[in-house]
């Protein structure tokens, strides 16, 4: 932090560049959200690599590192890459992903050839071009930033103006087509956005890792929300946040390239999200599992106590229960049930409350109904059915119970000739 502060003092550029880079990253992340939804994430990787000949070629032709010229070169070859991928996947057996691999590697090779020419050219800016490979935020000057932001804002306006249709095409292309939306037009629009969104980040993130800024924030945002508007906001925030960290590091240590740090920052956030995201996180599913297990143990205990009550034992001690069925932490389970007002403690042991009795009866009933269903309808042997019923009794819903009762005609005994307990006496037609 001190190092960062002292750099701010030395370099008034920092605030400008960090803010600008964050803005550009946010725009790229917004565009990436739509490519993520349309499952075209890797397009940005192919396009980014494919831009190298454009950058090197523009530099060779113009002889100076002018951001506008380089930007135009990058955009041109970005579009050529998109066109090539499209042409190859239409005219050969390769699918778009195969076409991408061909295009990105061949154009990158061409770019490398031109880059060696650039190094031999002896032009004063020649070494600065290396920054485009892995990103060098520290080398950005406000004029560069202005040009990039100009294109970024243009892309943003295009995105906002077409937001409704882009959303429609992303989620329901068939529906949109049937309502007269020209879907292919919006695919082209998305290609334009991807090329622009990739090109604006080249100097700060670098073309090798640029794809990450379009892919990862979108995937991250998707882990935290189901709503497109929230997803866009979150993706932009993740993109901007990681860009701020990456750009700052490149100011602190000039040898460090910006791009890799931004990417690692995003990867770290992804790992954290994998643990804590409300929808797919490990933490959430761990809690869920734990809750389910506890619920099943409680239900098994209630059922066991109900069985004991059937044999005439109204007040039960721990030893009575353990004779019938083993429970790991019995006294803890009993206290839990007491808290839920299912059982009460008396001097000689535990007794059911009305709630607990009803619940125990319900579980026993479900178990026996299911056993009957299995023997009657699926014709299973009576000695096979107990374990199946053990697991399903925790899952059967009241609606399913009604259906079962109707299907079996309100039966009185199960296949083992045990009485099926009802809350009130059954009336038979």
């Amino acid at each position: 932090m001190e190092a960062l502060l002292s750099t701010t003092y030395i370099n008034p550029n920092l605030l400008w560049v960090v803010t600008g880079t964050a803005g550009l990253a946010a725009i790229s992340a917004l565009i990436g959200t739509f490519t993520y939804l349309q499952k075209k994430s890797l397009l940005s990787d192919a396009v980014a690599h494919g831009m190298l000949p454009g950058i090197a070629g523009a530099f060779l032709l113009y002889g100076q590192k002018d951001p506008l010229i380089l930007m135009l070169g990058a955009l041109t070859w970005g579009f050529i890459s998109v066109f090539s991928i499209d042409w190859i996947s239409r005219n050969t057996l390769l699918r778009p992903t195969g076409a991408m691999a061909v295009v990105l590697s061949v154009y990158f090779g061409l770019g490398m050839m031109l880059l060696t020419r650039v190094q031999q050219s002896g032009l004063p800016d020649a070494t600065g071009l290396q920054g485009f490979l892995f990103g060098q935020a520290a080398s950005i000057v406000p004029y560069d930033l202005l040009i990039f932001l100009l294109f970024g804002v243009l892309a943003l306006i295009l995105l906002i103006a077409n937001y409704r249709h882009l959303k429609w095409v992303s989620f329901d292309p068939e529906g949109a087509k049937s309502r007269g939306v020209r879907v292919d037009r919006y695919h082209h629009l998305l290609s334009i956005l991807v090329v622009t969104g990739t090109a604006i980040g080249l100097q700060s993130i670098g073309l090798i890792l640029m794809a990450s800024l379009l892919i990862t924030p979108a995937a991250l945002a998707r882990m935290w929300t189901n709503k497109l508007s929230n997803m866009l906001l979150l993706a932009a925030a993740f993109g901007a946040g990681s860009a701020i960290v990456g750009a700052s590091i490149s100011f602190i240590d000039a040898k460090m390239p910006t791009g890799p740090w931004i990417v690692l920052c995003l990867a770290g956030t992804l790992l954290v999200s994998a643990f804590f995201s409300p929808q797919k996180g490990w933490w959430k599913s761990y809690l869920q599992r734990k809750q389910n297990t506890a619920q099943i143990h409680r239900e098994n205990l209630l059922k066991t106590m109900f069985h004991l009550k059937e044999t005439g034992l109204n007040t039960v001690g721990e030893s009575d229960i353990l004779k019938k069925r083993h429970f790991g932490k019995l006294s803890k389970l009993l206290q839990e049930l007491q808290k839920l007002q299912c059982i009460e403690k008396q001097e000689q042991g535990w007794v059911f409350t009305e709630i607990g009795l009803q619940e125990g009866r319900r579980l026993t009933r479900l178990h026996r109904l299911w056993e009957l269903y299995l023997t009657r309808k699926l014709r299973l042997q009576t000695d096979h059915i107990h374990p199946l019923a053990e697991s399903i009794e925790h899952i059967i819903t009241p609606e399913l119970e009604v259906a079962l009762l109707k299907e079996l005609g309100n039966p009185e005994v199960d296949p083992h000739m045990s009485i099926i307990p009802y809350d009130k006496p059954q009336t038979h037609d």
Partner: protein, 296 residues
């Protein structure tokens, strides 16, 4: 000295292209992109731990990270439900970023640098010599030959499972071949050739060597043996022309090979399209002709 550059380029090109055939026809070409990026941290770590260019250590490092990359992609896709292509993109960019940071951080201690990672040094590969069985040969030639032999042995030994799992996965599964296991074999082979080629042509151009010859041969092949030998021929042609032009024009040789392969691909696709259109027309005409002659 120049002839060694040609020989090294041809051997590396052959290993890569033959290892890449099965990735291309399984529509997994972008996996080469992922693997070639993802092995970088493995290489750098092996480098830092052993302190030298120890080939077996680097192979191990790269192999571990190649498999790790595949495992992580599957994990992101299956457990976190991130779309398949996005998972690929996330994993390889992250691992590559880690590798680049290691390279930048320890640039002084290794003779790997950012340049080398992208370019390779095919030109220099002719000079770094070792002696083997009393012969003074370039190290790249030795490792390259062993890799090529390894790839050929795997291809011959596992020809049938490769054929079946690639073209008729369901049938292969009923025959008892594990699709997942053979996927790992294909991926492992790809990681291995990536390592050997890494030093010579760099992380990104190795994708061209692996994907483009097979993609080109696929346009003009109908059967697997045909696909394999045409891939090999195209790869050799690309290496020879690419190296010649690279040396002649004094530019990145690896880039030149990739570009040459791209040109061969484009020409093949264009010719096929033209012939395809002509033969379609002929087919159409003869079909019409037959119809008329039948009517008479």
């Amino acid at each position: 000295m120049t002839s060694w550059i040609y020989i090294n380029a041809i051997i590396i090109g052959l290993s890569c292209s033959l290892a890449g055939v099965f990735l291309v026809i399984r529509h997994k070409a972008m996996l080469t992109d992922a693997i070639s990026h993802a092995v970088l941290p493995g290489l750098v770590l092996a480098f830092l731990l052993t302190g030298s260019r120890n080939t077996s250590a680097m192979l191990t490092g790269a192999f571990v990270f190649g498999i790790l990359c595949i495992v992580l992609i599957d994990w992101l896709r299956d457990r976190l439900r991130i779309a398949d292509d996005a998972s690929t993109g996330i994993v390889f960019t992250s691992l590559f970023a880690l590798g680049i940071i290691l390279v930048s951080r320890y640039a002084g201690q290794t003779d790997l640098d950012q340049e080398c990672v992208l370019h390779g040094e095919l030109l220099l590969s002719a000079f770094r010599r070792i002696s083997f069985l009393g012969l003074n040969i370039p190290a790249t030639f030795l490792t390259g030959t062993f890799t090529l032999l390894g790839v050929l042995i795997v291809l011959f030994a596992a020809y049938r499972p490769f054929l079946l799992t690639s073209f008729q996965p369901q049938y292969a599964a009923t025959m008892g071949f594990s699709i997942a296991a053979w996927n790992y074999v294909v991926t492992g082979m790809a990681s291995a050739v990536t390592v050997i080629s890494f030093e010579a042509v760099g992380a990104i151009l190795v994708i061209a060597l692996m994907v483009v010859p097979a993609a080109t041969a696929w346009i003009i092949s109908k059967r697997l043996p045909e696909l394999l030998w045409k891939t090999a021929l195209i790869s050799i042609a690309g290496s020879i022309v690419g190296v010649s032009y690279g040396i002649y024009a004094n530019i990145s040789i690896a880039g030149s090979i990739a570009f040459t392969l791209g040109v061969i691909f484009l020409i093949t696709a264009l010719i096929k399209k033209k012939i395809g259109a002509v033969s379609m027309k002929k087919h159409h005409q003869s079909a019409i002709h037959n119809q008329f002659s039948n009517n008479q």
